[in-house]
């Protein structure tokens, strides 16, 4: 086992053990060595003393060459167990006498001795040499050899004692160190336990217990401080996390709530739009249904009126007139409601035609003359010399001017009504101005003037009658023709209504809208551009092509001609015409095949096709998808009417919502959909119902 990976406990025990054992063994060894060295000295000393005594005793025998006496002296050494041999050498170095304990071999000749010390160690034996002298005369040399038995016995004994001692003291040291290592290891192990609990259980509330004020104690202090820091941060983090979660939850709720609200709003919007459409349709249908009985009422009363006058029964005439007038009033109300509902439903189209302005003005003035005379008003007419023709929906222009004029007559008593008409050739606008000297309209009333069902004052409805729809419809008509209407008025002094209409009203709203947008904010709007729609004429007969293109060009269209089916299809793709007129009898590729191909091409299928042919098979043409069917020779007027119709349908689908032109003196008109509320419509029903 690797020492480094041992537990602290073991390490501490082991270190203590090793250290103490090493010290013990070292000290014991040095003691042993010292003892053995000094004992050997003692032995040498002892042996030399022995040699001195033996030498002294055997000096006489040597003098007298008495070998037996000398041998006897030597034999006395038997008592000394460790002396194994003793030899007396004569001066010449020869053996004189000897003693041997075990008949061991001994040197026959005096070995060379070390003069200085007089002893030597040789092969595990201690050898001592001693000069034998008598009265200063050198007689020979005594040689003693000891096997150092005492020493080796002592050494062995000492070694044994030492081992036992080391063992005992080692065991004791183990016991003591294993007790004492806890002083260090216990706090460390405790620290480790605490740390494990923190790291495994993520429990930052655990604290290590400090036992002593030493380094480990300080380590535990540091650990605890770190833990409280972590615990604090953990708590802060957790609370921040909780707060974040709460916030996220709140946000999610908010988002959900908003989404719901959005969906509800969308549904509400759809419902409202649907309701508005349903309302418009209902109004249109109702108005239509109301007309039929009205037809009878007015008709019969007129008839009775005529009869009564012819037969001279004049007493009923007045009452019959009242029925007639009430019926006509009701009719005008229904017409107004119908007009509005048509505008709302997006069904109000424009029939553009060229007409002279002056006769129209004369006609309208003549029509309102009775109304003017009723209140004692005078109508003055100023038409500039440059006023000539204009292209617009004459019915709507008539109604616009009629509404303004009859309003002026209605609200003016014994005053003057002036009609000014002039044409601005520069910007291409016709300006109609109707001014009166009537009751006038206050600033506040002007704001709602052009909105539905908002007469300037409730009392006005009682005094003067009317639905409050007239100006709203006028306003809508002006918008439809891309014109502008404005009012200037001062209560008590009179009002001036000004209508500006393009002299060339166009149906292509997108182009016009662009022109209007480009000129927005300028005092004089730009003139309308005449937009030319393309018509593709497919016919193999050159004279027919020529005739048709001339007639259509006259009606203001751009005409592209094709002399066969293939060319026709190619031009249809290239020109994307408004309408295609198609001959049936053609060589190779007849009109039916061309029609099929046109209707099968998604890019071309929406282009209306008018079949112009001598073949009288309308059902087949309509089955194949033709929009209309004309039999040659072509009636030019019918063709013009048809094409005009498609032009209108096209422009209506291209740009349904009109951007409202600015109206000075009045609040910017709101969108149709915003204006209409259910209350308004109910009110309309009431009005119609009450009359």
């Amino acid at each position: 086992m690797n020492f480094h990976n041992l537990s602290i406990k073991r390490k501490l025990t082991l270190i203590t053990m090793l250290t103490s054992s090493a010290a013990l063994v070292l000290s014991a060894l040095s003691f042993l060595i010292y003892d053995l060295v000094s004992f050997r000295h003692l032995l040498i000393q002892d042996l030399r003393t022995q040699a001195e005594i033996i030498g002294y005793n055997s000096a006489g025998a040597m003098e007298f060459k008495d070998v037996p006496a000398a041998t006897a002296t030597l034999t006395a050494l038997t008592a000394k167990e460790d002396i194994v041999a003793a030899v007396l050498y004569s001066v010449d170095g020869k053996e004189f006498a000897h003693y041997s304990r075990t008949n061991d071999a001994f040197p026959k000749v005096l070995p060379p001795l070390s003069q200085d010390q007089g002893y030597r160690f040789d092969g595990g034996y201690l050898q001592v040499f001693h000069d034998v002298t008598l009265n200063g005369e050198h007689l020979g040399t005594l040689f003693l050899q000891s096997d150092m038995r005492q020493w080796s016995v002592r050494a062995k004994r000492y070694g044994g004692i030492l081992c036992v001692f080391v063992l005992i003291s080692g065991t004791f040291a183990l016991f003591v160190s294993s007790k004492l290592q806890r002083l260090i290891s216990r706090p460390i192990l405790h620290l480790e336990d605490s740390m494990r609990e923190v790291s495994v259980k993520k429990n930052y509330e655990v604290r290590a217990t400090k036992s002593y004020g030493d380094e480990i104690g300080r380590l535990i202090d540091g650990f605890n401080t770190m833990l409280s820091e972590i615990q604090h941060r953990d708590g802060a983090l957790r609370s921040a996390n909780d707060e974040l979660k709460t916030r996220t939850l709140e946000l999610e709720k908010e988002i959900l709530h908003r989404r719901q609200t959005q969906e509800e709003l969308l549904t509400a919007k759809h419902t409202a739009e649907e309701a508005s459409r349903a309302k418009s349709t209902f109004l249109a249908n109702m108005s239509h249904e109301l007309r039929t009985p009205l037809n009878a009422i007015i008709g019969y009363s007129e008839m009775l009126d005529e009869e009564a006058r012819e037969s001279g029964c004049s007493e009923n005439v007045e009452d019959l007139r009242k029925i007639q007038s009430a019926g006509k009033h009701l009719l005008s109300l229904i017409n107004d409601v119908l007009d509005l509902s048509k505008i709302e439903a997006g069904k109000m189209g424009l029939h553009l035609e060229d007409f002279e302005v002056l006769p129209l003005i004369d006609e309208i003035v003549t029509t309102v003359q009775p109304a003017a005379a009723k209140n004692g008003n005078e109508i003055k007419l100023h038409v500039s010399e440059n006023v000539g023709f204009m292209r617009a929906d004459i019915t709507k222009v008539r109604q616009i001017l009629f509404n303004l004029l009859s309003n002026a007559c209605k609200f003016t008593d014994h005053g003057t009504i002036t009609v000014d008409v002039d044409q601005n050739d520069r910007d291409g606008y016709m300006r109609f101005c109707v001014s009166d000297t009537g009751i006038g309209i206050s600033e506040k009333q002007q704001q709602n003037l052009f909105f539905e069902f908002s007469q300037a004052d409730a009392s006005i409805a009682r005094k003067y009658g009317g639905t409050g729809l007239g100006l709203a419809i006028t306003h809508r008509f002006v918008q439809l023709m891309r014109g502008q209407i404005s009012v200037e008025s001062e209560p008590g002094k009179g009002s001036i209504f000004t209508v500006q209409l393009p002299t060339q009203v166009a149906l292509d709203n997108t182009k016009l809208a662009r022109a209007v947008a480009a000129n927005e904010g300028e005092t004089s709007p730009a003139g309308s551009k005449i937009y030319q729609d393309t018509i593709l004429v497919i016919d193999d007969d050159a004279s027919v092509r020529d005739l048709m293109s001339r007639s259509l060009t006259k009606s203001g269209f751009r005409v592209v001609v094709a002399s066969n089916g293939e060319e026709g299809l190619r031009l249809a793709k290239q020109e994307n015409p408004l309408v295609i007129t198609l001959d049936v009898v053609m060589p190779e590729f007849d009109g039916w095949s061309v029609l099929k191909k046109l209707k099968n091409d998604p890019a071309l299928t929406d282009i209306p096709v008018i079949i112009v042919t001598i073949v009288d098979n309308e059902p087949m043409g309509l089955d194949l998808g033709a929009a209309s069917y004309l039999v040659k020779p072509v009636d030019r007027d019918r063709l013009a009417v048809l094409v005009e119709r498609y032009r209108m349908a096209h422009s209506a689908s291209v740009n349904r919502p009109h951007s409202a032109p600015s109206v000075s003196g009045a609040k910017k008109p709101k969108r149709l959909s915003e204006l209409k509320s259910i209350g308004d419509l109910d009110h309309a029903d009431d009005l119609v119902g009450r009359r």
Binding site: R291, N295, A296, M303, L338, D616, R638
Partner: protein
């Protein structure tokens, strides 16, 4: 006396209009649905036809188309009377072959002026 065929399903309107026309001095034949109108137009060959559009059996557009595609009746002027004062009705009237069109409720003076014009034109030709 010129004969006018009035095709109208509403009894009151039919009665009122035919009486007023008679008072003007016209001979009036009345039909109450499209089929009867077509039959009478063919059998009596009137000088002018006043054609209501929303008729039972066969509507005014169909009757007009039939009459206009028939050689013996195509010369008879037809004035459509429609209660739908819609743009498309006007176009439809011309498309079906009507010679003129007027909206209900009838303004009698305007209608009788139209009738007179057609009869005058016919007389001249």
């Amino acid at each position: 006396m010129p004969t006018i065929l009035l095709v109208e399903d509403n009894e009151m309107n039919r009665d009122m209009l035919s009486r007023r026309l008679q008072r003007k001095g016209y001979t009036v034949i009345a039909a109450h649905d499209g089929e009867q109108g077509h039959l009478l137009a063919c059998s009596k060959s009137p000088d002018l036809i006043l054609m209501d559009i929303s008729l039972p059996m066969m509507n005014g557009w169909e009757v007009t188309r039939l009459l206009k595609s028939n050689e013996s009746t195509k010369h008879i002027p037809i004035i459509a009377l429609t209660a739908h004062a819609m743009v498309t009705d006007r176009e439809k009237a011309f498309e079906a072959g009507c010679d003129d069109y007027d909206t209900k409720p009838i303004e009698f003076s305007r209608l009788s002026e139209k009738i007179e014009n057609f009869l005058l034109a016919k007389k001249l030709s």
